[in-house]
Subunit: 241 residues, 4 copies
């Protein structure tokens, strides 16, 4: 039965979901991670409303990319499933998606402000501000609300996959952060970093009307970890400073 | 002896009380949760001043709804018992009550400001601001102080049970949050969420003179989790995103 | 050898010291608790600079009240020992003293502002603001510095034991909080509460130019836990909400 | 093989690195500690991008002081290795270096503000503000970036070893804190203290336009822990209050 997705994906999605409370990004059952198998045309996601401490690999739900139908699993998938699906369809490079209500990133989303680039901690991962979407319209809320939540992110990035690679995170206005990456685990890492840079930005902004650091410093940090000239990390270790 | 209340209630009240320090809402022995058995006409509550690490099921105190008399238990009940009783008497839908001194919610109570609705994290649970009561009068403090602490909450909601269902939390001015729900466990969840949204609101307000998100977004989030069209959660899981 | 102090005192002082990092009030080896045996004319205190994880009951140092001489123990006592001694000599009601560098209380000490009474969380324990001392003079720093650190607290309270009972905490300007109580354990509890109310006050003050709650509310909270009409707690439990 | 460095150094460097997440200064794999063996002309440092939970003593990398060549270890050393090397070459008193992205210190670095001396918690360790460097130039970013990151610190202190002893920490503008000390362990302690004083300073500054405490108080605290008249600590314990 579970052969429907490539080996290891369900385990990776389970572990990434279980990491959400461990890294302090969760309140109650909030938050969810998914991972995609593009060959099989499906993604695996957390079920809706299951407490993390009770979550097992058998609770995960497999959803078809093309139409959102549940193809495996006894539980209802996360209510945010359609948002994940929209992001997978729009951005071919995305292998995993994470959504949390982590508090500092949500504060920026609620204030409808981008998380600005204020230092190398940000530039190490995000090659630009973490942008905030426009508000959803009344029509977008009334019908296909969750899919449209993904749609305003796609809109924000002009559907440009390269932009999704360079800044793998966005804040949905009045809601909170969605992050993504090449794998479920990477999307979770970006959620952790998004919250960290939001937290640091809040404190930086309380200290001064901030001037961003020089662009050459930021570029140096981004390119030493990403692209052809990257020299961060070791072959057998995840590329995360 | 313990047959006076329905099976499982004492255990649920114990677990909800023990969860207060686990979820980081307690300082020392502060905080208390109760659960009601309306058929038996009693509620079960934490004893006064017992440290959480020493609390056992036998320490819980059973109190009569009609007059506040202790009907079971060797210890004195929480000093806040009469506040709980007042809320049970006023709002028939309430099955459990939680009181904490969680720091961000207390900050709003001390500033005598409602926790405003600034995003979907709030709207998922509270269908409106978490309101703050008026100050108690000198007379209300002098006599039946704890009962009157409940009374100002009842006043604030015009004694309307439906309002108590839609926003299951209030801040007593200069004091702190009281939350409630269909069960003791739900009242605790609302205390956790009340603190989380207070924390996020504080940071949002530091970022911008806040404009609330459009009403249609907030309504969508409330109704996807509450009422006839709710589609959040799974049959066997608690309905908490 | 250890018979010099009353039974249980060394154990109580050890446990109160070990609790400092457990309750999150310590950085590295910072902080110290002592307890006095007035009959024996000595007090027991943490040695200087010993990491909490290595601290054992044999490391504790016994110091004579009258002149500060070490009467038992192989290690040098805390550098703050003379401050503790000064407080014991000035205030007969004090049975234990705690000093920490807990961050929010230190922030008030550094800003040279009292922690104001903004709600019942404060009034439950402190019957008035937690006051900040004047700066020490150059002479007071040059000679008997640590004793003089206690002296500015005594000065602040006009040496009035009753004031020390009603507000068992003070902030030394530019330095940090000292708290005390009937026992070592109570002095530690007051340190925990001092930090909690400082934290809540910081957030309250960020929300509004604060008006204190009505005096009758604050008095009610203080008197329900202290004095002849107190009705908080249970005979066998510590009197701390 | 490991005989290349003095006994105990590798273990000390391992433990100091593993302590970074334990004391709450790390996000993901961020942060690194090194320790030097000046006789052998090498230093030992964390490898690049290895998660703390997977880090073993065999992963540590030994680097030659004179030219930065790896002389032992299978993994690539931390990308920040050249910054450590620059500091070792410039300041003969430095025995260990720590770099973290701890959030409050990074906020000051991003705001390009010194962490001011606002109280004795700061003065106990740092005999002056923790200074922030100038921005790196475009040329300094383009070539030998990491070495130049050390260079702007050396510049800031005019290459004066005594200044490096008195304030064993600096903030690289737009980046974050580097701290050092006589040993790897001491450099880590200074990182912990740097973050603590940054946190306290942020809260102090939110309370008042701060006036520093009198110089005689600050000097007293520094000299009671440092220099010929120090009287803090015990012979067998680390000298850290």
């Amino acid at each position: 039965m579970t052969a429907v997705v490539r080996e290891g994906l369900r385990q990776e999605v389970l572990e990434a979901n279980l990491a959400i409370p461990q890294v302090g990004l969760a309140t109650l059952t909030w938050g969810n991670v998914s991972g995609v198998d593009r060959e099989a045309g499906v993604f695996v996601i957390k079920p809706s409303g299951v407490p993390y401490e009770a979550l097992t690999i058998d609770d995960l739900v497999t959803v078809r990319l093309s139409d959102g139908a549940v193809v495996e699993g006894d539980l209802r998938p996360s209510t945010d499933t359609e948002t994940h699906r929209c992001l997978y369809l729009a951005f071919p490079s995305v292998g995993g998606v994470t959504h949390t209500h982590s508090t500092r990133a949500v504060a920026f989303a609620q204030a409808r402000r981008d998380i600005p680039v204020l230092g190398t901690t940000h530039a190490d991962t995000f090659n630009g501000p973490v942008p905030v979407t426009r508000d959803l319209t009344e029509e977008e809320c009334a019908k296909d609300y969750e899919y449209n939540t993904g749609h305003v992110i796609v809109d924000l990035l002009d559907g440009d996959d390269q932009r999704a690679v360079e800044v793998p995170a966005a804040l949905v206005a009045g809601h909170g952060p969605f992050t993504w990456g090449a794998t479920a685990r990477k999307s979770l890492e970006h959620a952790i970093i998004c919250e960290a840079v939001a937290d640091i930005a809040l404190h930086t902004m309380s200290l001064s009307p901030t001037t961003p650091p020089p662009r050459h410093l930021l570029e140096r940090h981004y390119t030493r970890k990403h692209g052809p000239d990257a020299y961060y990390g070791n072959p057998t270790t995840p590329a995360t400073r």
